[in-house]
């Protein structure tokens, strides 16, 4: 029998079982004697074993079989579902996931090491009398299995589509939208009401088409959750900290491209929360908090954006201490420090070289990383905000677009060139009178809400001749760089547009500060600027 025809089905169903196993392990940690969950775990390992045996993937069979045996011992009441059991099962699930990846890519299967032996020999040292002899009674009498039917996901009506085809569809939709702008221009010139009406109706349909096509690229946030659970748990265990890890909003969809880029930043923030944010149980009890801390990762929708929040109820961050530390490290002058709001002070953590941890650990490092986190979020067109209350905990909120290819931009003119800046990076636009621009030292600034905002010229950044502002008005937009507001002066603000962004090929794609190119309705080409790289 030719088994290769079943490989794709095997892989997708095996991964679903792994997901169920991971979720069930975490659920069981909260309520270790939940009989239906214990049964479900046993069944998951058992089914995986049977499937892998049919495909002749013997290493997967070996691991799944040892996991099944361990669960049988839990089910019979020989073992309780303790943290050591949970750890081993998650480790097994991770190893199987790796083996599945090897199978998928036709790689040589990775070694399974001593995991099967450790699963079989659990608990590591014979814990007294309870091995072979009299079994303690089962935690509850064997009740008939009954649990909500939620394991039928495998049968969802799905079609597998090559991602290249998807991108092609998105490309075509983008071209159609660009063409709509061309038609709008013609309609305006012809002053034809019926044409304008038809074009505008067409525009609505295109918008709907675009939304649907973009949805195809959406994947549930859940797709990247597995690694978070593992890293938070193992880090907490390693540091002897007790905590709950809660995940909320796994079902929310994000563009797969964005999801991929989120794994490292979120892992970093989560590890920081456990490593720096969370106190030990003794410290917590001494401040009158519950011994067990809580770390939450929640995802929710906010119109066309997605909010991802990592919060903890740990020790929090103290803006004053952060300012002092930044001054001590020469990252900030005392004068600059005085202009910082508490929220801006918290953003200091995103400066390269900043850390307030009492000691450097090998886990979240020396504050390297938060700057990289902030930059990668900005690159995705998102923003990062930090809230914290000393003694109560901190929260890091990422606000991200759900999709990427079509974005709203602010179009600006600098010299002969038009450039586009994603509106997600623009806080406001201003047209200042010349006398509102002040010179402080060597810098030009303007006052905004009691704050001196430095001004930079986009012409200068791009190496173009400086603007002259003949009518005495200085146009600029406000953006944020490294946690501080900056005004970017341009020759003219041309307004907001909807652009379909395409990556630039080689060698232009390598240029720092350029995120891509786009065509305007009149055929003119503009570059989309990546402010994070330019400032």
């Amino acid at each position: 029998m030719d088994m290769s025809q079943y490989k794709a089905l095997f892989l997708s169903e095996a991964r679903e079982y792994l997901k169920t196993i991971n979720e069930t392990v975490v659920a069981l940690e909260q309520s270790p004697s939940d009989r239906p969950a214990i049964d479900a775990l046993f069944r998951g390992a058992h089914s995986l074993k049977g499937m892998a045996a049919s495909m002749d993937y013997l290493l997967v069979v070996e691991i799944a079989h040892s996991m099944e045996d361990l669960m049988i011992r839990v089910r019979e009441g020989e073992l309780s579902f303790e943290p050591g059991v949970a750890d081993l099962l998650l480790e097994g699930s991770e190893l199987i996931e790796g083996l599945l990846n090897d199978v998928e890519q036709d790689l040589q299967q990775r070694p399974t090491g001593d995991l099967p032996a450790r699963l079989a020999a659990y608990p590591p040292r014979p814990a007294g009398t309870q091995r072979q002899g009299a079994k303690p009674p089962a935690p509850s009498p064997a009740v008939p299995e009954a649990e909500p039917a939620r394991e039928q996901a495998a049968e969802a009506k799905t079609v597998r589509v090559n991602t290249e085809l998807l991108d092609h569809l998105i490309n075509l939709t983008g071209e159609l939208i660009t063409n709509k702008h061309r038609l709008l221009n013609i309609g305006r010139e012809l002053e034809s009401a019926p044409l304008n009406e038809a074009v505008s109706e067409n525009g609505k349909l295109l918008r709907a088409l675009h939304d649907e096509v973009m949805k195809v690229r959406l994947m549930p946030f859940d797709a990247i959750c597995g690694s978070f659970q593992r890293s938070v748990r193992s880090l907490a265990r390693k540091q002897g900290k007790e905590l709950h890890f809660e995940l909320e909003g796994r079902e929310i969809g994000l563009d797969r491209g964005i999801l991929e880029q989120l794994v490292d930043p979120l892992n970093h923030i989560l590890r920081n929360a456990v490593d720096h944010g969370m106190e030990t149980s003794e410290e917590r009890e001494a401040c009158g908090k519950p011994a067990k801390g809580a770390v939450r990762l929640s995802v929710c929708k906010d119109r066309d954006r997605v909010l991802i929040t990592v919060s903890d109820d740990g020790r929090g961050m103290d803006p004053e201490r952060m300012i002092a530390s930044a001054i001590g490290k020469g990252l900030l002058t005392p004068e600059e420090a005085e202009t910082l709001t508490p929220r801006q002070a918290l953003m200091l953590t995103c400066l390269p070289g900043f850390s307030t941890a009492k000691e450097v650990t090998d886990i979240s490092g020396r504050g390297v990383g938060m700057d990289a986190v902030a930059t990668s979020i900005q690159k995705l067109g998102g923003t990062l905000t930090i809230d914290s209350e000393p003694g109560k905990g901190s929260s890091f909120t990422l606000k991200l677009p759900m999709t990427i290819a079509i974005i709203h931009v602010l179009l600006v003119q600098c010299g002969r060139f038009k450039s586009a800046v994603p509106v997600t990076a623009v806080q406001r636009t201003f047209e200042l009178r010349r006398d509102q621009v002040q010179t402080v030292g060597k810098r030009q600034v303007f006052r905004l809400d009691e704050e001196e905002v430095p001004l930079l010229s986009l012409n200068r950044i791009l190496g173009l001749p400086l603007g002259r502002f003949p009518d005495g008005i200085v146009p600029l937009f406000l953006t944020e760089a490294k946690g501080r507001r900056v005004g970017i002066v341009v020759d003219r603000l041309l307004g907001q547009h909807e652009l379909f962004i395409k990556p630039l090929g080689r060698p232009l794609g390598k240029l720092p500060g350029v995120a891509g190119g786009a065509t305007l309705g009149d055929g003119e080409i503009v570059t989309v600027l990546e402010l994070a790289d330019l400032l």
Binding site: H46, G50, P144, A154
Partner: protein, 120 residues
């Protein structure tokens, strides 16, 4: 008319494999079910000539489903699918009226042979 079969297994992958093997042998797949409860309901609906029943399943195990199917139709011809290492369960299944057993992983020739015998 060809013999009708209902396939019961919680794994889509397993059902697909078994379906391919059985269709190759000329059986007509009347229905599929993915848990014990669904198996009982579908049996009553389709009355297949043969049923293959996995043992480890959610919402009623294969053994429980077997008991209910036999209570509903004492002439039912049910073949249990079990993995190596579940021999202890075969006694219970035989007592409950199972006609035969097939072992996972499936060997197409053996499966065909066992089903032929179970047809009686």
């Amino acid at each position: 008319m060809s013999t009708t079969v209902m396939i019961v297994d919680d794994s889509l992958f397993m059902r697909k494999m078994l379906r391919d093997i059985l269709e190759e042998e000329g059986y007509q797949i009347a229905a599929e079910a993915s848990d014990g409860e669904e198996a009982v309901a579908r049996y009553k609906e389709f009355r297949p000539d043969l049923t293959t029943l996995d043992i480890v399943m959610p919402n009623k195990t294969g053994i429980e489903a077997l008991q209910e199917i036999m209570a509903f139709d004492p002439a039912a011809r049910v073949v249990m699918c079990s993995a190596i290492g579940q021999e202890s369960l075969t006694t219970a299944a035989t007592q409950a009226g199972a006609k035969a057993f097939i072992l996972k992983p499936f060997n197409p020739e053996l499966v065909a042979q066992v089903l032929k015998e179970a047809e009686g």
